[in-house]
């Protein structure tokens, strides 16, 4: 919006002028304050240069100066769509660092929350993707209708709609009441019906297929080489899901499948997410069946909950990673034996998945760049940190 220069790239009279367009940081569909410098030849993209940092709010610096427990609410604000998944990863990393055990009920609660988050994220992402495609908000609104129902549960359990701050080292902050579980059961029961409706609206829609199929194809070897993770990787047909590979928490107890894409285009990324939601519903059903009364936090952990300053993990390092809805969310922690971490680093899937943006976009039209960005599913809070 701001710079208005038309650059003449070459002096050859047969060459057409390329147009340098600045998408963002204020742009309706850059999902926040992301910026792309796109060079266009007519409507065709010649090059894309992502520019980020407009939401670089120094998460790592601030976290290195807080107690371990006080970092938890900050992780909520990383990927603000799925605070529970962020909490999960951080809790795992710290538990690895300080060797804390987690009781079984807490594990179940964690899995339930993480999978609910996955539903929230995927359904919203598809909504936003459709928004980028130009559907006038309807899919987003249907998605947010379901999201509101799930957020109501988050609010009842953790106290906040978005910034849950719910996980603690060695468990979770509060127990989940039976009424809440019943509410979750109800939502999980109804969710497939909603998905069917959502799919009827979208999946076979000719315009959506036209726009999405064979656009932004990501070959599997490039995907692996560029460290792409999450649904984007699986849409390219690479079978890698950290829930299966690392078997963290209690994921090995549930039977679920990993949907793998065919071609790795935008449409596959869309549909893999739909299938993943169906698998998440399966996990949720099993978890809701399997959850038993018990402790929601390890008794040893309660002592440092009251006084976070006394929580001093031994000197060492740990890398905890979870399959967040966006991809591999990793936390790298180095402890120096004091209440604050010496080094705290977030391996953010949004940032790394963007590596291939230019490869995907070049040769396509402007409109495609936007849906490719939408299908990669970035969140600026996590990208810039």
């Amino acid at each position: 919006m701001d710079e208005k220069t038309v650059t003449v790239q070459d002096t050859n009279p047969m060459d057409t002028e390329t147009l340098e367009v600045n998408f963002g940081p204020q742009h309706p569909s850059t999902h926040g304050v992301f910026r792309m410098n796109i060079v266009l030849d007519g409507e065709t993209i010649v090059s894309v240069k992502p520019v980020m940092g407009y939401l670089h709010r120094n998460h790592e610096q601030i976290a290195e100066n807080l107690t371990y427990a006080a970092v938890m609410p900050y992780t909520d604000r990383l990927d603000y769509f799925n605070s529970m998944a962020n909490n999960f990863g951080y809790a795992l990393a710290v538990e690895k660092l300080a060797r804390i055990e987690v009781p079984e009920r807490a594990q179940y609660i964690r899995v339930i929350m993480a999978e609910l988050t996955r539903l929230v994220n995927h359904v919203s992402v598809i909504g936003f993707l459709l928004n980028d495609l130009g559907a006038f908000f309807t899919p987003v609104l249907y998605a947010f209708r379901e999201r509101e129902k799930i957020l109501d549960i988050f609010e009842a359990i953790s106290g906040s709609r978005m910034m849950c701050n719910y996980f603690r080292f060695g468990g979770v902050k509060r127990d989940v009441s039976d009424a809440d579980l019943e509410q979750i059961r109800k939502i999980v029961q109804k969710f497939p019906a909603f998905l069917d409706e959502f799919e009827a609206l979208l999946t076979k829609n000719e315009i959506l297929c036209m726009r999405c199929q064979n656009v932004g194809v990501l070959p599997p070897d490039l995907a692996v080489n560029a460290s792409i993770t999450g649904p984007v990787l699986r849409a390219s047909g690479v079978n890698y899901d950290i829930r299966k590979v690392d078997r963290y928490s209690i994921y090995e107890r549930f039977s679920f499948r990993i949907p793998l894409g065919d071609k790795g285009d935008v449409y596959d990324r869309y549909y893999v997410r739909i299938l993943e939601m169906r698998e998440s519903v399966k996990i949720l059903e099993q978890a809701l069946k399997g959850i038993r009364p018990g402790e929601f936090i390890h008794p040893k952990s309660t002592s440092f909950l009251k006084l976070p300053r006394n929580f001093k993990p031994p000197v060492g390092e740990a890398y905890g990673r979870v399959e967040s809805p966006k991809g591999e969310l990793g936390y790298y922690l180095v402890s120096d034996g004091t209440p604050q971490p010496w080094r705290y680093h977030v391996r953010s899937p949004s940032l790394i998945n963007l590596t291939v943006l230019e490869d995907l976009c070049v040769g396509h039209k402007v409109a495609d760049a936007i849906i490719i960005l939408g299908s990669i599913d970035i969140i600026l809070g996590e990208l810039d940190r």
Binding site: L55, R57, I62, E64, Y74, F144, M163, V334, W342, D384
Partner: protein
């Protein structure tokens, strides 16, 4: 000026009296304010977490459309007010100021969430602006992290109240030669130049945070590095 004030005071008195008797007098001023108040089109851009709650406000549960404010305009030229929904970083602030300058009068700014008001939880960051009101005037501050969608609606109602209290002959945008365009700060070696615009904002004397904590040196506090080499036992995974 005092004379005009007097007259409007008398006007108000008469109007109240008549309103009690069930007679509503719509003056030009009322019509003007009513029109602007009922058709507040926000600018469509989100900065961070609060943006999601802003979208939620536009969605079915809360439906900002009921107030006639659902037409999020992507172009600043067509927007009436700006919802600054999220952390304003130093890298983003110049663009925000520019966007504000591009909006047509009358324009309003609503800061949503702690980050936009003061830097919020990220106040100590090296790249975080401590409140957008350092560069542009803000009409409504809405605390919370993030504020609930209802709170945003509440903020909108507050903004409507503010608009209602304005008078057409005193509106600053109709004053001659006055155009609310603020210079855009530049990137400097440590942050923005200038750090704030003294025309809009001045540091407070009673700044509690500074009194209590000084300016915390965030990085550079620790002086002893851990020696990972001596760690022998691996953390069990």
């Amino acid at each position: 000026m005092a004379f005009a004030k007097n007259i409007s005071a008398i006007d108000q008195g008469i109007k109240n009296e008549l309103a009690q008797k069930g007679i509503v007098i719509a003056t030009l001023n009322d019509l003007y304010n009513w029109g602007r108040r009922s058709s507040l089109w926000p600018m469509q851009f989100g900065l961070a977490c609060c943006a999601i709650e802003m979208i939620a406000t536009a969605c079915a549960r809360y439906d900002i459309a009921r107030f006639g404010a659902e037409l999020f305009r992507p172009s600043p030229r067509q927007a009436d007010f700006m919802i600054i929904s999220g952390t304003v970083t130093k890298k983003m602030a110049p663009l925000l100021v520019r966007l504000y300058n591009q909006m047509p009068e009358p324009k309003y700014v609503l800061t949503m969430g702690a980050c936009a008001i003061s830097g919020g939880p990220f106040i100590d960051g090296y790249n975080v602006l401590r409140g957008i009101d350092r560069y542009i005037p803000v009409d409504v501050h809405l605390p919370g992290c993030p504020p609930r969608p209802e709170a945003l609606l509440y903020g909108l109602i507050q903004l409507q109240k503010k608009i209602d209290s304005q008078e057409i002959e005193k509106c600053e945008w109709y004053q001659k030669g006055l155009k609310r365009v603020y210079p855009v700060p530049e990137y400097g070696p440590h942050g923005l130049i200038p750090k704030y615009n003294p025309e809009v904002w001045r540091p407070r004397q009673e700044e509690l945070r500074k009194q209590r904590y000084g300016q915390p040196i965030l990085t550079g506090k620790k002086t002893k590095a851990p020696h990972l080499d001596v760690v022998t036992t691996a953390p069990s995974s």
